[in-house]
Every structure is written in structure tokens, then in C-alpha cells.
Symmetry: C2
């Protein structure tokens, strides 16, 4: 805060409020970013608030303008992301701001979308509006890290989750894993799902756990459920084949035995891949508009996802239990590391207690 | 605090001070307990403080009496543990208190030692002193949990420590484990050692790590270093065979090949056991005066120690690294559990960050 430009200081509290507004739609705006906006009239009074609620619906700026009405004239809009200048599902926001007679636009971060990427700000400046950039830029970039990652890399931000005992076991050697963590930890998994666009499991998880993979009502927007199966050796009956609650995609590589589909009920979507590379799957999910996906898979797929740079964040639940076991049910398979210096080192993000369990979030 | 007897309230701050004094000698008094004492004169002014510094040296009460001198007359002593009434390495404290002319004794907890166990309090009452019992009893019992455990069970309180990666690995499949945790975490292991009476490893740890097992100068009282080897298949040269810094015991069961000793330098003590049961070893260490020991062993011995109820506390360091590996280097071997309900459930005690690592302490 010490070296903050003088012209940014008055806008900090308003940008914080705009960020709060943006976050209200977490998990519901993909493929779009989270955006919040507030409008102050010419005397500096708050006259409008808005946030982007869902792809295809009005942008944050338009929501705020609608509230403010005539009071926007000579006013200021504070918005977390650079206003768009292109015709998407909705018209460009820059034109609406100019038309509303605003004299100043305060922007958190530049939109990484190549269709905008500074052009929105240029358009506003060229029209004579004052533009103040980079107010709480880091915070604004933080809330849209998944959107920005997808725009830059062409695939969604990946979160890998596992739940283990104190001795690093995700199950007993007989396969039993219900329940290692307590109800509070499992509840927070449902919350994480509710903020993701898709949840991915491998065929092994479908065979052994028959999971439902929904947010259990934590969101109206249930994540897309994706089964990533090399062989299509999948059970004929599974909760995931019923798509009345949420959509299911069955993604499979060239070795997949498509005869499996003949017995499958209608509902799940088939997605043939050219390879078993997790990054191919994620690129396709990115094209379908996923900004953030959750890996809830077993050790083999988790290891392959990490190797393919398809995991950016890790969420590990640790229960104060000892399961024991010498050879099976570890969170990950071998990476072939020969020294500790070559292993993956993660950055601490967040540590929390869920009842008696720990929840540790980290970044790659 | 709400239902605290009225007669205890005035003594709470003084008992807290006595507990602080007692803890100054943590790790140095075995086989004796930690004890602190303060003396107030007849007007309630603090005139003496003391704590038990080391087995064979003066008890806390005697230290405090020496400071108070004549000012003890008609005064009060506040002491964390019931004064002893038997001749041990030093004379009975009860007699010294009576002789000093004190009128009141405030006691935290009854001494579980069968040679005292209430008799000290009876002796004081019979001599006309007022005795107030149970002031901060839980806190006093807490600081002496290891002493009380040894007195009640005949073997020391066991702490098991391991350091693992986020994916539950204590090493790579090639055996490499240096260093999973950071310097701050390793430093706190040295501190834990400095408060234990013995550190126990198995033969495998000596063969693979050649550890030193000292407190690295954190205490003048280096813990006894114990190698627990079934076969005596141990290296001829090892840091532990040099006993100039700290003592070493080589404990071995009936299958031990004693020919190993012919090449061993002088220094380490030999301890033949009737079995490979960890509780036999701990009973012998209890007889040698150990109140608290630290297991720093590999998975096989750790599992066997847990099964034999020789672990009361667990200290797990978790580093934010991913090592991977499907079959080896887990903290524990199999317990043969068939369901999650039958696994060990531990009680949270303390969670701390050591640099980027976590340190989680729990009780069985």
C-alpha cells in the first residue's frame, strides 16, 4: 500500500465492494470471468451496483448502469475487469458506458481475452473518459485466476482433491474408504464441486465407488460430470448414467471398446479423444467453456494429470486416523523421482480445520 | 472456573507460577516428576521459589524453603505435586515443611507414586497443617502425564514421530529421504529429543541413515539412544557406536546374532530381551528411569510399537511436496484392518507450522 499511486487511493473501498459483488457468482459465469461493478454519481454517492450472474446474461457494468439510470451522468464506474469492446452474447460494454455519460472508469485488471486485452480501455480513453487502471489489480487477478488461466493456456484450471489418513492412505487394502474424513470435510468437497465447471473421475472410481459427483444442492449449477476411461470397461449401471440431475460426459481414448455404449441408457455424452493425455481432455473441456475443473480420481489418473500439467491446485484432507497398509491405496503413483530435490514443491495457500480433519490447499 | 471451590481461588495465580517453575526442568528430571513450588509468608508475600532440577538433587519444596528461610513460619507453600513422605535419594519433604513452621500447604495433584499416593497429604494434615488439594489439578496432571503414565503402567510414555510428503511418503522408492522437511521442522525434532529420555530406532534405520539421534546441543541431557534390533544385523561402523556425546543401548531379541558384538567398539550397552515385543523393551527402559521415549523408527517397528500400545502420542511433519511411488516408504505397515470404523482414531492436540511444513501432534 505504501507506494500506491495517489490517484488509486480513493477507489480502494469501492473496488473492494466490486470484488465482493463479483464473487457472488462464483462457479456460475464460465466461460466468462467474474465481474463486479459499482457506479458513483458526480458527487461520489453510490447509485448502482451489479455483477455478472451467468454467461449470456447482462455484464456487471450493464447491471450497475440499469440501477443508476440518469445518475450516471458525469459519474464514475469502478469495475473489477476491463470493460469489453466486442460484440459477444451481449453488446460491448464500452459503448454503453460512453452513452451513459460517465466521466471516469476505474479498472481492476486488463481483460486477458485477446478480443479485449487493452482495447476496451483504449476505446474509453479515445472517447474522452478518464481511465484509472490497476486498482487492487492483484486481488482482481486472484478472483479470476481460473478464467485467466483458461484464456492463456486453452484449458481449465485444474484442482486435484484427495482425502487421506494421517499415514497417507486413501483406503484400506480391501478398497474400503468410506469414510476416512468426517461429514464436515465431505460437505466442503460438495462446496468445492459447486464452484467448479466439471468434476473428472477415472473408470476405476466409477467401478469401485459408483459416485454421484454432485454439489448435493450447494449450487443450482451442477458441475459437468466427466468419466475419463481408457478402455470403456465401465459398469452398465452407474449413478452417473442418470443425467436428470447433472450432465455426464464419457471421454475415452482410441483403445476404448465402443461396444459398451450399446447397453448405455440415453443421457451421457460420448467424447472420443485421440489419446489418453489428460491435457487433450482438458482442452476440449476448455472449448466447452470450463474455466475450472476438479479431479476426483484415483492415483493413476491423478499422477498422469499432474505429469501433464493439468493440476494447478491441490486440496488435501487429512483425517486423524491410522489405516496402515504397506502396498496400496496411496494418493499418487510413481513419478520416477531419484532425489528429493527433484520432487514437486507446492506453495501453501490455505489451511483450515473441518471438524477433526485438516484441509490444506496449495498451488503448484 | 465457574464451580471452583472458594478456597481454591486465591491460589490459582501462585499455582500457575509453580507450574511455570516446574516446566523449566522439562526433560531433565526423570525418573522423577516435574515439580515447582512457591512460598508465601504469613502476610501473603512471595518469599521463595523452587523447582526440581534433576533426579538426586533437591526437591522443589526444599529449594523454595531455602530461599524463604525464617519467613516460612506461618506461611503457605503452593506446590504442583503432593510432597513426598518417604526417604528416596533425598529426605522426605513433609518433614521439612512441618519443621519450617508452615501453616498451609496448597497442592496441585496427588503423587501417583505408590510410596506417596495421599500419604504425604495425610502426614501434613495429621501434623496440624491446613491442606488445600486439587488446585489446577488438570494442569498439574498434564505437565506430568509422562511421569504418571510410567508410574501407572511400568513403561515410559511413547511418542512416535515421522516426516512425510503431502502424498504420505517418508522417502523415495530408492530410499532417499534427505530432506523431506525443512530445517525448521528438523530443528523441532531436535527439541523434542531434548525433552525425551530415550530415542529408539530399529536396525533398518541404522543401516540406511546412520543417524546421530542427539538434540544437537538443545539440552545438556542428551537422550539415551536405543537401537532395537531383532537380528543384530547392524553395520560395524555407525555414529551411534561412538558414545562420547550420548549413551547407546543395543537391545536385541533371542534371534540376535551376538557374534556382531565381537567387532563392536567399547561404549554401547548390550541389552538382551526375551522377545521382540516393544513393550518388553519399554518396561526395561522404564526401570532405567525413562518417563518419555521417542520412536524415530521405520514403518515395521512403528507399526509393531503401535500394536503393543507403546505409542501414546504422534508427531507428524507434513512437507508440501509430492514424492509419488506406489509401493514403498509409507509411514506404517498393515494393521490388517477390514473397515474404516476399526482403524485408529487420534485426538488432536496441537497444530503448528514450521516454515512451509506442518507439524501435527495428536494423542492415541
Amino acid at each position: 500500500m505504501i507506494n500506491l499511486p495517489q490517484d488509486q487511493k480513493p477507489w480502494l473501498p469501492w473496488m473492494r465492494r466490486a470484488i465482493q459483488l463479483a464473487l457472488l457468482a462464483e462457479g456460475r459465469t464460465s466461460p466468462n470471468p467474474l465481474v463486479g461493478a459499482i457506479i458513483l454519481d458526480s458527487s461520489g454517492r453510490l447509485v448502482g451496483e451489479g455483477f455478472h450472474t451467468e454467461a449470456g446474461k447482462a455484464h456487471a457494468e450493464i447491471e450497475a448502469l440499469a440501477q443508476a439510470g440518469d445518475r450516471s451522468v458525469d459519474g464514475t464506474i469502478v469495475v473489477t475487469l476491463e470493460p469489453c469492446c466486442h460484440q459477444g452474447l451481449t453488446p460491448p460494454c464500452t459503448e454503453a458506458l460512453i452513452k451513459a455519460g460517465l466521466k471516469r472508469v476505474v479498472v481492476g485488471m486488463v481483460d486477458p481475452d485477446p478480443r479485449v486485452s487493452g482495447d476496451g480501455i483504449s476505446r474509453l480513453k479515445d472517447s474522452g473518459l478518464e481511465v484509472i487502471e490497476g486498482v487492487l489489480r492483484q486481488e482482481c487477478e486472484w478472483i479470476n485466476r481460473e478464467f485467466s488461466f483458461r484464456v492463456r493456456h486453452g484449458r481449465p484450471w485444474g484442482i486435484l482433491k484427495w482425502a487421506m489418513s494421517l499415514d497417507g492412505r486413501i483406503g484400506l487394502s480391501n478398497g474400503c474408504s468410506k469414510w476416512i474424513t468426517n461429514a464436515s470435510a465431505r460437505d466442503s468437497v460438495h462446496k468445492i464441486r459447486s464452484k467448479c465447471d466439471a468434476v473428472i473421475v477415472g473408470g476405476g472410481t466409477v467401478r469401485s465407488d459408483d459416485p454421484l459427483l454432485t454439489s448435493r444442492g450447494k449450487s443450482n449449477f451442477e458441475p459437468l460430470r466427466v468419466v475419463f476411461s481408457r478402455t470403456l470397461n465401465l459398469p452398465k449401471s452407474a449413478k452417473l448414467w442418470n443425467t436428470t440431475i447433472a450432465k455426464t460426459i464419457i471421454a475415452y481414448g482410441p483403445e476404448g471398446n465402443e461396444a459398451f455404449f450399446s447397453d448405455l441408457p440415453d443421457g451421457p455424452e460420448k467424447m472420443l479423444l485421440n489419446s489418453n493425455d489428460p491435457s487433450e481432455l482438458l482442452t476440449l473441456l476448455g472449448k466447452k467453456g470450463c474455466n475450472k475443473i476438479l479431479w476426483e480420481c484415483g492415483p493413476l489418473l491423478a499422477t498422469s494429470a499432474i505429469k501433464a500439467n493439468c493440476v494447478q491446485e491441490l486440496v488435501v484432507f487429512v483425517a486423524p486416523k491410522l489405516l496402515g497398509g504397506s502396498s496400496s491405496m496411496s494418493p499418487l503413483n510413481s513419478f520416477g523421482f531419484e532425489s528429493i530435490n527433484s520432487t514437486y514443491k507446492l506453495q501453501h495457500s490455505f489451511l483450515d480445520r473441518k471438524g477433526e480433519d485438516l484441509c490444506w490447499r496449495l498451488f503448484f
